[in-house]
Amino acid sequence: MGWLDWLRPRKKPAASEAELFDEAFQRKLEYLAVASRRLFAGRMRAERRTRIAGSGIEFADHRPYTPGDDLRALDWSVYGRTERLLVKRFEEEEDLTIAIVLDVSASMGFGGRARFDHARRLAAAMAYLSLSNLDRVTMVAVSTKVVRRLPPARGRGQIFKVFEFLRGLEPSGETALSEAGRTLGAELKRRGVAIVVSDLYDPAGFERGINALRYQKFEPMVIHVTDARDADPGARGDVLLVDTETGDGREVTLTPALVARFRDAHSHWRHEVEGFCKARRVAYAQADVEGALEEQVLNLFRRSGLVE
């Protein structure tokens, strides 16, 4: 029995939840924390420090005394040496807002539900890690618009709300990640980390979606959900290629040479995405649907800087 069951003994996890996190996986996730290169202001103290002095215990620096300052903050030892009234400043530990943006467009449901399920597990894993570190987590499902949103929550006990949220999603519609950036910017007063879990098949360009988050003062992180089957449709001969999201068709004669060219183009596009993120210091990781979830969370994310 996992400790989540121990937290909620009256409600046993459903089968889908058990698939998302088995007992061993849950134990490993406890020791991971979501990385953040920025420090954000927070209303509650957590395990991250701000540069603004506060009531923490870690000394930061001094500033001159002004009337009205708390006399308890005066550094008497400095006054004794220099006869100057200085107030000690401490780094205050605050919580971090993490928005997990899950792409629920139709392309995420391509080739069965493996891609979508894998993305949901990844999102759940990230949510769990964040909640374990006392971060504030909000979930956003987005296709052409924000389809559904889970309000910010804090504490590991909220993970079950996350599961419920993820279970209620179905892939449909087109991809428009930029719309997610705009909506988050408007609805979230506090900025933080935005973890995008998506296949990045955005007709408007994946760059626009990531840039939209950056322009809204979020720190985007990209988990690129990939599937090797995307690079080869499997069919040969005269076919009508139909886009899963838009339904647009294009008559093509699929030859082995053409498929090989497409495979190269697909690989090139993935490198293009990775290069774009690196150039903008956006944490990026590819998560293949065939890969082991634990491996990706524990090792791949660590290497890519998503987790410490």
Binding site: F110, D199, D238, L240, V242, D243, T244, R250, A265
Partner: protein, 422 residues
């Protein structure tokens, strides 16, 4: 080439309409197989980079259209059910007559004429249409049906395989009458004769009653000499001795030298070297032979040691007539002149009887001849009969369908007559 299915004009219409449909569908572009892809813009990138491939795809589609039209053309032709000329009459009834005379044993062809006839017959059987029926018969001195009228080609081919030539001549008239009887009432009858063409003249009354008659020849003119007649008889005035006559004929296209050997019970009594011109018929008489009941054998052989194409007619047999007196029943009322004439012949054994005694005499003993003088006698079949001064009132009752010619005493001679090669 004949069309058993649709007529050529109909085929043209069907072909034109179907071709138009295929071209129309091609122009409309048939719905292609739909293949879902997660992100079509990526495909667009690749496809825009290769415009030269469009020309190849167009050519490939054109070839595809041409292939479809070719297949359509073949289907249309199949609707016409084309068949070789002569094999297309609907619902034919065919009598296939296989020549089984001795001349079909000739070896002028590889495997012999019989094998060639079998192969020709198989080809005819395999050309049968689905509505055709056939009867296979072999003809020699008699006609033997090997199958009933059937459309079972397997049974027909089996019968053709079972066909074997015999050492007899050929009665073509009988065979054609048989075929006519089989085909009576069939509108599409046909008689096919497979043989070497060495046939005797056909009787004038023989027709095929409107059915087509076709001849399929096998064999070729070869090198053959054959014995066409061989018999022995006693001299009329000297019953103690016999003479034998042998006749041979050449069907070879060049002069041949042959050796004729005549033996009595295996002992040669005559050996002669003969030169026979092409088509010549040669007779030779061996005189003054003694004995009775012995077997005579005549055999010819080419002088150069080779064999002709047909060996079955190179030997013939005969039997020397038995030496015994003919039994004569003389029925009358004591005609002394007749009695005297009969008594003077030492080779006659005469029994006298009245008309009333004649039935009892005929039932008690076998007679070769019955001579009635002014008396009515019921003569059993097979007994010769000479009637002198028949009673007028009894004439109608006296005539019977038996021959009035006296039967020659002694066993009949066997004569080999085999027709010969073409």
């Amino acid at each position: 080439m004949e069309w058993l299915g649709l007529a050529p004009s109909q085929l043209a219409w069907v072909g034109a309409l179907a071709g138009a449909a295929v071209v129309g569908l091609y122009l409309l572009r048939q719905r292609r197989r739909r293949v879902l892809v997660p992100f079509a813009p990526l495909w667009a990138r690749v496809l825009e980079e290769r415009p030269s491939a469009k020309l190849f795809e167009r050519l490939r589609r054109l070839l595809s259209l041409l292939l479809q039209l070719v297949l359509l053309g073949l289907l249309v032709v199949a609707l016409g059910d084309p068949r070789p000329a002569g094999a297309s009459r609907r619902g034919r009834t065919t009598v296939l007559l296989l020549d089984a005379s001795a001349s079909m044993s000739a070896t002028d062809l590889p495997g012999g004429r019989a094998a060639a006839a079998r192969e020709a017959a198989r080809r005819i059987v395999r050309a049968m249409g689905p509505d055709d029926r056939m009867l296979v018969a072999q003809m020699d001195a008699e006609v033997t049906a090997l199958t009933p009228l059937t459309d079972d080609s397997t049974a027909l081919e089996t019968a053709v395989t079972a066909y074997r030539p015999r050492d007899t001549g050929l009665d073509l008239s009988r065979a054609l009458r048989f075929a006519r009887d089989v085909l009576r009432g069939n509108a599409h009858g046909e008689v096919i004769v497979v043989g070497d063409g060495a046939y005797p003249p056909v009787a004038e009354d023989v027709t095929t009653a409107g059915s087509a008659l076709r001849f399929v020849g096998v064999g070729r003119r070869g090198r053959n000499l054959g014995l066409t007649a061989f018999s022995a008889r006693r001299y009329p005035l000297d019953r103690s001795r016999c003479e034998a006559m042998v006749e041979l004929q050449s069907w070879s296209d060049r002069a041949e030298s042959v050796v004729l050997t005549v033996s009595v019970d295996g002992a040669p009594i005559e050996r002669a070297r003969l030169r026979v011109e092409p088509g010549e018929r040669v007779q030779r008489v061996i005189e003054r032979l003694s004995g009775g009941g012995e077997r005579l054998e005549a055999r010819i052989a080419l002088e150069d040691g080779t064999r002709d194409d047909l060996s079955v007619d190179d030997v013939a047999y005969a039997t020397l007539p038995e030496r015994r007196r003919a039994r004569v029943l003389s029925v009358g009322n004591g005609n002394r002149y007749l009695e005297a004439a009969l008594l003077l012949d030492e080779y006659l054994e005469v029994v006298d009887a009245t008309a009333a005694q004649a039935p009892a005499a005929l039932s008690q003993g076998r007679f070769d001849v019955v001579i009635s003088d002014g008396a009515a006698v019921q003569v059993p079949p097979g007994v010769g009969w000479i009637s002198l001064r028949p009673p007028p009132t009894d004439l109608p009752a006296l005539w019977s369908p038996v021959s009035s010619a006296p039967r020659r005493a002694g066993p009949s001679s066997s004569i080999a007559s085999t027709g010969g090669t073409r």
